[in-house]
């Protein structure tokens, strides 16, 4: 009896140990993934926060001779103002270096400021202009001036000018609103995420509007109405396989069908959304079918038992109960679509798009494609833009998830 008791205890201890081991392995796994998530977030934010500010240089622009905007030669005015700030620079090549202080867009900035405030005409106001990307990097401490001159981005003369500007309080750091309001640009200091963001939102809207109703209808038919046959098994297998097809294949299909056969506009959010919808459909159908299957059959019996037709049963009772699950499936699909680059490259949404798209048929790009383009860029200053764009992408993802959670809660409340 006692022997039996001790062997059992031995055995029991072993079982307890294995349970303890399993628990700790699970906790470690969670800790690891949280750790990596944290590392990713920290590295992206520390890189990307630089893109939220930019350097500006103050110049005294002589507009005294101008009565209307037409009288102003913006390019020349900015140049003259810059040369006047550093009168000691006379050498032609040095003057060219001096022009490198300012962003290529400075003449437009002057025009914009005059338009916003016509009272500037006839005066000699001090105006702020966006500094070039290298100056911007320097103010953020990204340029190591202890390196020999030929191995860094700023020459000694430029460093000297920047220091002069700093000492005159003619160099400041401001919040980079342009990043959130303008489109892409060749100049990193002018490049913004807005056009890509709008492109992504438009594409996703098209994608959702197509794939959600289609996916739900397909799932409803397959799950609630069609009878089980070899034919429905065949469809089911194919849908499951489609969910695993590489996304670039859908891009090829979109290119062949939507662009070449239907002649829809290239690079447009409309076609992008359609391609993403093709890609998202299987995911939504599979999730919706699972949601429908989880509705207890007793609810269907109850409705049919009081004489409801199948359509009434489905739409009055089954669909509302399955809706939260369907929404979850949809959001998983949409999140995947949001991060998709490959199919969009195939239909031309990879183009360099400066303008913010105004409609579904305008040329547009999308957030992940923009990230890809910037990451691929040789300009050092695009690095922080890339990280900032990733932050915007993640933020959009979070917003989408919150919307989904709110919607789900709303449906669940209808007990």
């Amino acid at each position: 009896m006692i022997e039996l008791f001790t062997t059992a205890e031995k055995h029991l201890r072993k079982r307890h140990r294995s349970e303890w081991r399993f628990r700790w392995l699970g906790r470690l796994a969670i800790l690891f993934s949280l750790g990596f998530l944290l590392i990713m977030l920290v590295s992206i934010t520390s890189l990307g926060k630089g893109a939220l500010s930019r350097a500006e240089i103050a110049l005294e622009v002589d507009l005294s001779g101008a009565e209307t905007l037409e009288d102003v030669n913006p390019k020349k005015s900015v140049r003259t103002a810059l040369f006047a700030t550093f009168p000691e620079v006379t050498d032609r090549s040095e003057r060219r270096d001096l022009l490198g202080l300012l962003s290529a867009d400075s003449s437009y900035e002057l025009v914009r400021q005059i338009k916003n405030n016509p009272a500037l005409l006839g005066e000699t106001p001090t105006l702020w202009f966006t500094a070039s990307d290298n100056i911007d990097l320097y103010t953020k401490g990204e340029v190591d001036i202890s390196l020999p001159e030929d191995r860094r981005r700023l020459k000694d003369n430029t460093v000297g000018w920047v220091q002069t500007l700093e000492s005159r309080d003619a160099l400041r750091k401001v919040f980079n609103t342009a990043f959130f309001t303008s489109g892409d640009s060749r100049e990193p200091e002018l490049a913004g995420i807005f056009s890509a963001l709008v492109g992504s939102i438009l594409s996703l809207t098209v994608c959702f509007a197509l794939s959600f109703p289609l996916g739900i209808m397909a799932a409803l038919y397959l799950e609630e109405f069609s009878s089980k046959s070899r034919w429905s098994d065949f469809i089911e297998v194919n849908i499951n396989n489609l969910a695993a097809v590489p996304s670039i294949v859908f891009g090829l299909l979109g290119m062949a069908i939507f662009l070449n056969t239907f002649g829809l506009p290239r690079s447009s959010p409309l076609v992008g959304g359609m391609v993403l919808a093709l890609m998202t459909l299987p995911t939504i159908i599979i999730a919706s079918r699972a949601a429908l299957r989880s509705v207890p059959p007793s609810i269907r019996e109850a409705a049919l038992g009081v004489g409801a037709t199948r359509v009434q049963t489905t739409f009055h009772h089954v669909l509302p109960l399955a809706m939260p699950g369907m929404l979850t499936g949809a959001i998983v699909g949409m999140a995947r679509a949001l991060g998709e680059t490959a199919p969009l490259i195939m239909i031309g949404m990879v183009a360099f798009i400066v303008d913010v798209p105004k409609g579904l048929t305008d040329a547009a790009t999308s957030l992940p494609v923009q990230i890809f383009l910037w990451a691929d860029s040789s300009e050092r200053a695009f690095l922080e833009k890339t990280a900032a764009a990733i932050m915007v992408l993640l933020a959009l993802l979070v917003v989408m998830n919150i919307v989904a959670i709110v919607l789900r809660k709303k449906f669940e409340h209808r007990y």
């Binding site: 109850a302 049919l304 038992g305 009081v306 409801a308 009434q312 007990y415």
Partner: protein
Amino acid sequence: MIKDPIITARDVNVFYGDKLALNGINLDVPRHKVTSLIGPSGCGKSTFLRSINRMNDLVDICRVEGDIEIEGKNIYDKDVDVVALRAHVGMVFQKPNPFPKSIFENVIYGPKIHGMVKSKTDAEEIVETSLRRAGLWKEVADRLQEPGTSLSGGQQQRLCIARAIAVKPSIILMDEPASALDPIATAVIEELIDELREKYTIIIVTHSMQQAARVSQRTAFFHMGDLVEAGPTKELFTTPKDERTQNYISGRIG
């Protein structure tokens, strides 16, 4: 067999795929009486019950042969509308299955889809009479907007009965309506069944022979797809004609 039956089943065979689940059933069901179907698990009593309102149609592989006539009309005729049939033949299931909606909505759903509700007062009246008949009115009168699922098991089952009678059926099928309930709730349901007999014809499937003896006037005993014996409940339990019935009611099989 009996005078003026409301349901007559003639040579009913039911197949699930190739498997024969019911074998040549002939049964008359008397009007305004409670008929209970008893027998061991898998004997086909639920299958027979579900053939009466064609719930079996939902099972793809299920096939019914023979005639089931209600008021002289074969319900498996081509011109029979299943939706109208199910309004005429209500059903209460084994597990209480109220809709996840309010008590009011639960009762009024059937009348609504059948176009029996013209105004708000109509609806209120139907809900009140149905709940009264199901013996639930007093308990829920002041909380009709609460979810039906918040009621206790026995109350939920009476709500399901109210939902079934709201569409004014003449026959109510009950598939082990008390098997998921405690003894007190069961007693309430049994009492209710006895009252409902006045207005409706009731067919009840039950596992409990005591229940069959308490609530029904006629009993049919099924065994392995055969209808072994049917007759007045008292007779069947006291002087069974068939040996299998004898064995079942004495507890030797089942």
